[in-house]
Structure formats: structure tokens, C-alpha cells
Symmetry: C2
């Protein structure tokens, strides 16, 4: 009886602190989820919050909910972000392979850059994963470093689309004055041979992203291109007018651009 | 030492079988996830698959992946579907409350019916949660019973929108011959006082849902209505033309309608 009670107390303790002794094999430690009523409730809420931002149900939001900070961190640096990126890249490639490529050089795919081809995770790791108010100055300093890594699944897709004979257009909310560092960063990350890199010029400043990006896609269509696919982490990359035949929403629970 | 080894073995056992003795309080049992490497890998994949269908990245699909059957079941009958529905209804209401209602009787909100106002979960529970090929005959028999329950969060939203002075339009892929059972089911579930119930007439048969629904929304706009919001579990409820000021995607990992 005493031994049974001991086991019971021990197990409860184990559950409550969500930890096990370090003597346990690493693989076991990794698969043991932290069990904690508060974090369970948060996880349920934050997962629904993520649903609402990824479907655009939430509309505009400025920072992630405070209670979701560790949820977003775990999502971004754990397996889930990678897994979601992989499935989206797979969807995109399946669609691309189903296309009849005209081969006249007018088959186009539009990629956004930040959180689509490149990840700014190193910056956001140092800035609370979207829980801090966006600070343009420090973000621009990060951009100037030109060291954002590729999202590996996007890089693979990018290359595979090129092999299919599709021309790549890069359409970013970054400004013309950032062209050089952007090109430098893209090369650093392994991206090459795009058709055009479109940045905000003087006349694009102040426009909502959804308008600016629709106008640029419209220009491409007027130049005779068929935009088969469009990839972006923001709905403002994908909706509006002159939309692609298929749009692919990449995950991004860290920030929202209208 | 022997006692330490005993605890170690006991805990490993606990982890491997993913179960704890029935003497444990029910609340503890509920929060202890089953630990299983295969199901962990499936959960990661299926969660990404769900991301891809809820964002429309996956495009058309006919049945859920076989490996995701228990994932979808757990999602639908556990806390997550309810939690997601709650957050979407909250987003919708927040937006509705921010509106300036003209009060001229022309403020409109469009609701889809199946998996938006009503849930067909009892049918899908008996048919593999989307893992079986859709069978129109048995589904129509279910519809004829007029016993689909309300999604509680949607019913609350529906009533709150009415209190704000917004007129409700129901726009469904169901056909005119199902009007009576549909009305009967809506009353049964607690829905009342909608402005119009729009079903597929003879000239709408065979049209893709996205076209049929866009045309009907277009008619409403031509009648002078402002469609502030649109709620649906399918992207074909929300996209196309004559789209609402804001669209709200409800969760549905069980089936896809183009």
C-alpha cells in the first residue's frame, strides 16, 4: 500500500512538473510532452488563434497574444513550422507538375521574399517571436546584414519550378533602396536566376501591400505572363486582383501585413 | 538503488503504454497524452495536412489521408473543433461590432449552412470522418431527417448579428427540392428570422459552388445590400467575385467542395 501511494505521488509529481530525471534517454525526454493544465489550455487557445490568423479570420493584428509566446516559439523552432512548410511546398510542386507549360517563356510564378523564400527567424528569436511591437529600425538593420537563411523547402521548390521551365518573379514589400542587400541575401541563401525582382518604388510607398502587390501582378499579366502560382506567407501576398491561378499560403504566426 | 531502478522501469513502462492506472483522477487521465512514436509522426503530418486544407493550399481533395483518420476524429469530437469554432465566431462578432450599421435594412451577412450553421458530425461519425468516398444517397437520406445540430458558437453569432440589426442570408449548395427539410432542420437547431434562404435552383445545377455562390452574392449587391461578412467552412463559400467585406473561414477537415 505504502509503495502504491509512493508511486502515485511520484507520478503525479512527474505530471505536474512536466519533467523527468536527466538519467532518462534523450529520445524519451523528447517525446514526453510537458503536462500542465495552464499550458494545455493555452495550447488549445493558441492553436485556435493560429487557425484564425492563418485563415485570415482574425483580420489585422499587431502582436501575438502574450499567452501564446511560448506556443509560437515552440511552433517556429520545433518540428511544426518545418513540417507545414514542407506540405505547402509539396502542394505547390504537385500543382506545378500538373501544368501544361507553354514554353514560350511566359509561364510565371510569383514569390514573396520574407518568410516565404527567406526566414527572419534569427531576428524574431531575438525579438520575442512577434510578441514585441514591430520595430522598423532594428528590423532594417537586420535586413542590411543580408543573412536571412533560406526556408529549405522553399529553396527546393524554387529550383524545381525553374527546372519545369517556369519563370520566377520576386515580389516583396521591401523598398528599392534595399535592392542590393536583398540580392546579396538571396544569393547568400542560394536563390539564383530569377526573372525580375520587384520592390516598392517611390510611387508604391504608402500603398497597402495587397494593392501594391495586385498592381505588380497586373503589370506582369499585361506583359503577357500567365501567373500560374503565387507563394506568400501573408494573405496580402495572395488576394486582391490579378490573382494567380493557385495561391499558396505559407505559415507565419509571428506578424501580419495588411 | 533498487527503488530508484524500480521507479525508472515503472516510468518507462508508463511512457511506453501511454496509460496510467485507473485509480488516477479522471482529469489527470484526460490530460495525459498517449505517447507513441508512430502516432506522434502522424499527428505532425496530419496537423500540417490540416493547415494545407484550411488555407486552401491543398486545392481539391476527395477523402482525408488514411493515416489521418484518427487525427480528424480526435479533432472533431475533442476540444479543438469547438475551440476553433469559438475563435472564428469571436473574430466575426468583433468585426460586426466595429461596423457602422446603416439601419436601412440593407446591412447583410451571408452564412453557408452545412458545417457552418449546422454540423453533420453525426453523419460523418458513422462514415469515417471523411475517410470514405462521399456517398450522395446516404448523405441525402441524412439531410431528409432534418436532425443536424447547430454549431453552438455559430448559433450565438447568428443571434448576435441579428441584434446588431444585420440581415441574415443563408446561401447553401443544397437544392430547392430540399427547401422544406432544410427549413425544418434550421428551426430544429434554433435558427429563425433569416431574410432569405437561397438554394440551388434548376439553372444553378452543375455550376461549381464558387460560381453559384458568387452569382447569388452578386444578386444581393444588385438588390442594394452591403455584404459586410460571409461565413463558410469552404473557400468556395468565400472567394470568387462579389466577395464580402470580410470573410470568415470555419474549420472543416472532413471534406472539400470546389
Amino acid at each position: 500500500m505504502a509503495s502504491g501511494t509512493g508511486l502515485f505521488v511520484y507520478t503525479i509529481l512527474l505530471l505536474l512538473i512536466g519533467q523527468i530525471p536527466t538519467a532518462f534517454p534523450q529520445s524519451i525526454i523528447q517525446i514526453l510532452p510537458k503536462v500542465n493544465l495552464v499550458s494545455d489550455k493555452n495550447a488549445l487557445y493558441c492553436d485556435s488563434w493560429r487557425f484564425s490568423v492563418e485563415t485570415n479570420d482574425a483580420g489585422y493584428w499587431s502582436t501575438i497574444p502574450t499567452r501564446c509566446r511560448s506556443f509560437v516559439k515552440d511552433y517556429m523552432i520545433g518540428d511544426r513550422y518545418k513540417s507545414d512548410s514542407e506540405v505547402v511546398a509539396g502542394n505547390s510542386l504537385t500543382f506545378a507538375k500538373s501544368l501544361e507549360i507553354a514554353g514560350d517563356g511566359k509561364d510565371a510564378w510569383v514569390f514573396d521574399i520574407d518568410e516565404t523564400l527567406l526566414t527572419n527567424l534569427p531576428y524574431y528569436e531575438a525579438h520575442g517571436f512577434g510578441s514585441e511591437t514591430f520595430d522598423e529600425k532594428s528590423f532594417d538593420e537586420w535586413v542590411e546584414m543580408a543573412q536571412a537563411p533560406a526556408i529549405p523547402e522553399s529553396l527546393r521548390l524554387y529550383k524545381e519550378l525553374q527546372q519545369l521551365g517556369i519563370k520566377i518573379f520576386l515580389l516583396t514589400g521591401r523598398s528599392e533602396y534595399q535592392r542590393n542587400v536583398t540580392v546579396q541575401n538571396l544569393y547568400f541563401a542560394g536563390y539564383k536566376n530569377w526573372e525580375k525582382l520587384l520592390l516598392r518604388g517611390p510611387s508604391d510607398q504608402g500603398k497597402p501591400a495587397i494593392v501594391y502587390k495586385s498592381e505588380k501582378r497586373s503589370d506582369l499579366i499585361n506583359e503577357g505572363y500567365t501567373i500560374h502560382g503565387s507563394s506568400g506567407d501573408q494573405w496580402s501576398d495572395l488576394l486582391g486582383f490579378a490573382i494567380a491561378q493557385r495561391s499558396f499560403k505559407l505559415p507565419n504566426p509571428m506578424y501580419y501585413i495588411a
